[in-house]
Symmetry: C2
Subunit: 291 residues, 2 copies
Amino acid sequence: MSLGGLEAGGTKWVCAIGDGPDDLRETITFPTTTPGETIARAAEFFMDNGGVDALGIGSFGPIDVRRSSPTWGRITTTPKPGWRDTELGSALETALGVPVAFDTDVNAAALGEQRWGAAAGLETFCYITVGTGIGGGGMANGRLLHGLLHPEFGHMRIPHDRARDPFDGVCPFHGDCFEGLASGEAIRERSGRPAEALEDPAAWELEAEYLALGLVNVVCTLSPQRIILGGGVPKRQGLFPLIRERLQELLAGYLDAPELTASIDGYLVAPALGDRSGVLGAIELARGARA
Amino acid sequence: MSLGGLEAGGTKWVCAIGDGPDDLRETITFPTTTPGETIARAAEFFMDNGGVDALGIGSFGPIDVRRSSPTWGRITTTPKPGWRDTELGSALETALGVPVAFDTDVNAAALGEQRWGAAAGLETFCYITVGTGIGGGGMANGRLLHGLLHPEFGHMRIPHDRARDPFDGVCPFHGDCFEGLASGEAIRERSGRPAEALEDPAAWELEAEYLALGLVNVVCTLSPQRIILGGGVPKRQGLFPLIRERLQELLAGYLDAPELTASIDGYLVAPALGDRSGVLGAIELARGARA
C-alpha cells in the first residue's frame, strides 16, 4: 500500500510518499504559487512516482473539513491573494482517483506528533505553529479538534499594551489579534527585518510575552496535557525558556499541576519530528482515508 | 435506582434526587458556609431522603477530577476563604458509601444540557456561566473536557482598554483576566452595585464587549458547534443581542459558517434547563458512576 502526504502551506508545499519517519520513499518541496500551478505540481509528483492508494492533505486555512458539506476540501476565507475559495481536496481526489483525507496543516502535524513524536500516548494536546502566520490544532479526547469548523488559535484576542508596543498588528481581518501581533509577519512588519535577523532582546521579550498570553488562553480553554510549539519563529535560540517563564508568571500558580510548574520543560516542547510533523501527519491522515 | 445530584457552587449548593427534569423527587438549596457544615448538610439531605445508589457532584473549582490522583475529589486552589484544599468527593463517598462522580459545575451543566437541553445531539460545544465568577466547560468529540486538569475559561486574558475602563479587575490571581473584568463580582466592584441593579447602558455595552472577547477566544480554540451562556449576569434583558452583535463584529467574517452569521441567534443561547442544568447534569454524572 502506498500512502501520499501533502503539507499544503501558505509559503511552500511538501509532498511525500511513504509509511512513516523511517520510510519516506519520495519527497518534494516547492513554493506556493498560483492555485492552478501548485495543485497541478502536487498531482504530477504523486502520478510520476507510481501513484498512491490514498492521499492525506494538511492545508493552510481556513478550510472546509466537514465531509458532508458541499464545499468540503475547499480553502475558504484565506487572505492569501488568489487562494480564496480554492478547491483543493476535490481537485486532487479527481486528479488522482483515490480517497482523500483533508484537514488543517496543524491538525495533520498534531496527528504526526501523536503517532511518532512528542504527543505519543496523549489524548488531549495542542500543536501550535508560529511562522508567517499562527495556527493551532490538536486532539481532545483522542480525536482531532474540529467542532463547528476547526480551531483558529491565531485569531484569538490577547492583551495589547500600546504603550509598550504601539504597532497596530498585521491581521487583515482583526489587526492586533494573536497572529496580528506575534506571527513572523508581525515581527517583520514591526521591526523591518525577518525574525531570523532580529537581534534586539527587548523585541524577543515582547514576542515571548505575546506567545505566553496566547498559551495562557489555550491552557484555560482546552486544558492540553502538552503543548507542541512548531514553526520557524520558536526556533530562535533561547525563546522557549522565555516563553515558559512568562507562561508560569501569567498563570500565577492558579492551576495546580506539576506540568505547569516544576515540569514545564516537558510541557511546552518543540516538535519531535522537526519540520516533518505536517507531511508525516498527512500520511497518517491518508492511512485513515484508506481504512 | 435512586440517583443523587449535587451542584456545589461558591454561593449556594443544590441537592436533588431523581432521574431527570420530569422526575426530581426531592430538592434542597442552601447557602455555602464552611466546608464542614456545608458538606454535612448535603450528606444529611441524601441520607434523610432514603439514600441514593450513586452521587454526581458538579463543583466550583479549581478541582482535581483525575480519578487516579491521590487528591481526586478535592477543591484545590480556590480563592474562596476557608475552602482551599477541601476534600469533597471522598468526604461524600465515605459518608454515603456509594459511587461518586466528580466534575466541575460547568461540565455537569454541559452534560445536563446535552442530555435534556440546548446541546442535544452535539459533540463539541461549551457551557459558560457568568455569575459571581466565570467558568466554562463542555464537550469535545462527545466527551467532557478534561485534559491536564479541566478548562478554566474565566482566567483567559483578553484585551483591556484602560482608557475606556480604568478598573483593575477583581481576580486575586490575575487582576484583569476575563473573570476579573466581566464577572458579576467585577460589575459590583466597578459600579458599586450588583449586576441586577446596574442600569447604565454604557456599563452593559462594556460587559457585552468583554463577554464577546471571551467568546471569540473560545470560538478560536475549541470551535464549538454551539455556546450555552448561563449564570445570573446574562439574564439581563437585552444583553444576548448585544453580545451576539459584538461577537460577529469581532470575528469580522473570518470564519465562514452560517452559525456565526445569519443563524447566530441559535448559536449563542441560554440554557434550556434554566438554573437546573447543573444539578440535572450532576444526576447524569451519577448515572455514569453507577454504570
